[in-house]
Amino acid sequence: MDINFSAEDLAFRDEVRDFFAREYDSTIADQLSGAQGTDYKGAIVAWQKKLHAKGWVAPGWPTEYGGTDWTATQKFIYETERGLAGIPDVVPFGLKMVAPVIYTFGNEEQKARFLPRILESEDWWCQGYSEPGAGSDLAALNTTADYAGDNYIVNGRKIWTTFAQYADWIFCLVRTSKGMRKQQGISFLLIDMKTPGITVKPIVTIDGKHSLNEVLFEDCVVPTENLIGEQDKGWTYAKALLAHERTGMAEVADSTRLLEALKQRASVEVNGGKAMIEDPIFQMRLSDIEMELMALEYTELRVFASMAAGGMPGSESSLLKIKGTEISQAIHELQLQLASYYGGALPDDLNAEQLRHDFAFEARGKYMYGRAATIYGGSNEVQRNVIAKAVLGL
């Protein structure tokens, strides 16, 4: 039993570290820190183009379409280094979500048309799955696409659509016929966001920011050539993609970095002149989390090792998602506790210097938005149902 990397792997790790250190400068970091700044989209695109220039923007893709030929270990190293460096992941909707569906189930024309532009970050994609009232019951969808000659006429509403305000394209699950089971009769459709009849309505979240949207379709005309695979088989394609989505939700490297920052902050923050990190109770709160994270790191390694040995991520991804989100929420919570009453301040009228506190805004934002982590991507309740069924056979 060991967790040693080979010399090649270590060399790769150095290359990744070096690249990140050189290319990801503080300007980009600043621009990407808020999900709302005016130049956010530009900064993301610029960073992704840099990654693409290096050939690293799509490690998961088959090499024939522009992916890397990394081993499972290299992919793991890359993700870990990225998390530890505090670099946000690429925007997943194009590169990690729709692209795998296109290169797996799309036709040659679709591949040629869409994949290069995704790779080059020319098209910004968003995801049209959830609908009002559906929630974790993803298949309960009512957006219709009626077949009309060369086109589908799309009507309905999608919700929780991240970054729809920036998007050029949206990939949607739509109902093309009424099946016996609600999973039947669903199709996978690519829709140009400039199509007449589309309205994007912002949703402001409890952290006061705007990254989510509602997308309305009114008699939108979508060419049938934008259909992926066969009509009515969309659920199958989407399901394949969902397993993809859940992998990597443990976010161990990110949590490790956040926890280290928290410890640093706790050694500066004082009560009665004494650093909070010296307080025995605060230490227990910290180690309650740190110990869980230490274990989760190895749970992730174990899953990864079995994937590297050729296994497929199954319901382990549910475990990683549950524990990973619980831990990151616990970190956010403790950080907000550390920020005390400063954590209530909004940055509308003042900056950190004026507030006299340097991580209060971040602490509040991360806590508030972080509540979503146990809700989206299949709520933690649904993940527990999955484990109960798939692992325990209940």
Binding site: G272, Y341, A345, L346, S379, R384
Partner: protein, 380 residues
């Protein structure tokens, strides 16, 4: 033995409750929060007219002569509407300290103006380094001709921006962490050398950084004897904490009711989500959390009338720690059980949760109060 409110208490409770129901719906509140000042002066005048602002003050100053029970009754109902007008700041905290002051001429001058709504007040105690230790005061008050000169900076002063008057903690003697030597001064927000930088808080209320530069105050502005400010604060703190906890209780009850009702109408997997046993049991836990919090509050209210100060303090620290623990549980479950919609700024849920979070960090969080409890309960 009796856990009912008196007829008089019930009347004022009902009056607040009616106001919240009929005049303070969530849209109205949202508009007030978005307004320039962030509060409604009109409603504040109404509060004055209805007598709510007079609750904790003795009749000789024109007050209602109410007890902490009356305050709790009002605060619980205000919590149900997450009313942003600074009742806690002005009436419970600032007013509570004024009511406990032994400076008669000051009281005669100030209290009637609180009651008639013309004076809003705020308590400026926290500093950049102080966190929850009230006696960690670096702001100084240096004796000068017939008075003092105050210099220092107060951070996150609740509703500091709307206050006409501030009660400021400043050190007249002793070292930074000493209990003795902290004095309480009434300072006019317009006084020369006072600078107030107001900003919004997540609960829709506001706070301010208050800078004091050689602010001259007369000795007659002292609320009690110089250097003995902590005694006055300690005397009033149980009442303040019970008031805030009552507000928290109103919020928790509302969150629970709203969540339970939502699960009955929200369909998933072709059935109302209220039918999922896991959610049922978790809602039972939040229900019990609310009942236990209420019991702890009532324990404090009962003990407030007794002589055993040690017992009361234990209860009050336990109460604030309970509000922290169960408030968090109730708030987080409300968002989680609502799901995506619970994450939106448009829904009221998140706003109730944010006010609960702010109450948690006001005058000490859960760990802080539990440690105080431990000191009282287990240290020889």
């Amino acid at each position: 033995m009796n856990f009912d409110f008196t007829e008089e208490q019930t009347m004022i409770k009902d009056s607040v409750s009616r106001f919240v129901r009929d005049e303070y719906d969530f849209d109205t509140r949202t508009k007030i929060v978005a307004s320039e000042e962030g509060i409604s002066r009109e409603f504040w005048s109404m509060f004055a007219e209805l007598g709510w602002l007079s609750v904790p003050f003795a009749e000789e100053y024109g007050g209602f002569g109410g007890s902490v029970e009356d305050i709790a009754a009002v605060m619980e109902e205000l919590g149900k509407g997450i009313v942003v007008e600074p009742y806690a700041s002005t009436v419970v905290v600032f007013g509570g300290l004024m009511a406990a002051s032994d400076n008669e001429s000051l009281k005669t001058a100030v209290i009637p103006s609180i009651i008639d709504g013309s004076c809003m007040g705020s308590f400026a105690s926290t500093e950049a380094q102080s966190r929850y230790e009230m006696s960690d005061v670096a702001t100084t008050a240096t004796a000068c001709d017939g008075g003092y000169k105050i210099s220092g900076e107060k951070t996150v002063v609740a509703n500091g921006g709307t206050a006409n008057k501030l009660i400021v903690t400043a050190r007249t003697s002793g070292d930074q962490y000493d209990r003795a030597g902290v004095s309480l001064f009434l300072v006019d927000a317009e006084a020369s050398g006072v600078e107030v930088k107001s900003y919004k808080m997540m609960d829709g209320q506001s706070a301010a950084t208050v800078t004091l530069k050689d602010v001259v105050v007369a000795e007659s502005q002292l609320l009690n004897a110089a250097g003995e400010g902590m005694d006055l604060i300690d005397q009033v703190m149980p009442q303040i904490l019970m008031g805030l906890s009552a507000e928290a209780l109103g919020i928790m009850a509302t969150l629970n009711t709203t969540t339970v009702e939502y699960t009955k109408v929200r369909q998933q997997f072709d059935t109302p989500i209220s039918s999922f046993q896991v959610l049922q049991h978790r809602m039972v836990d939040t229900f019990m959390a609310c009942e236990q919090t209420k019991s702890m509050l009532y324990r404090g209210l009962c003990q407030a009338g007794e002589d055993d100060r040690h017992a009361l303090l234990k209860t009050v620290h336990a109460l604030k720690a309970t509000v922290a623990r169960y408030g968090r549980l109730v708030g987080e479950e409300a968002i989680q059980i609502h799901g995506g919609i619970g994450m939106t700024d448009e829904l009221n849920i998140g706003h109730y949760v944010k006010r609960l979070m702010m109450i948690n960090v006001t005058f000490g969080d859960g760990d802080f109060h539990q440690k105080k409890f431990n000191q009282l309960a287990y240290s020889a």
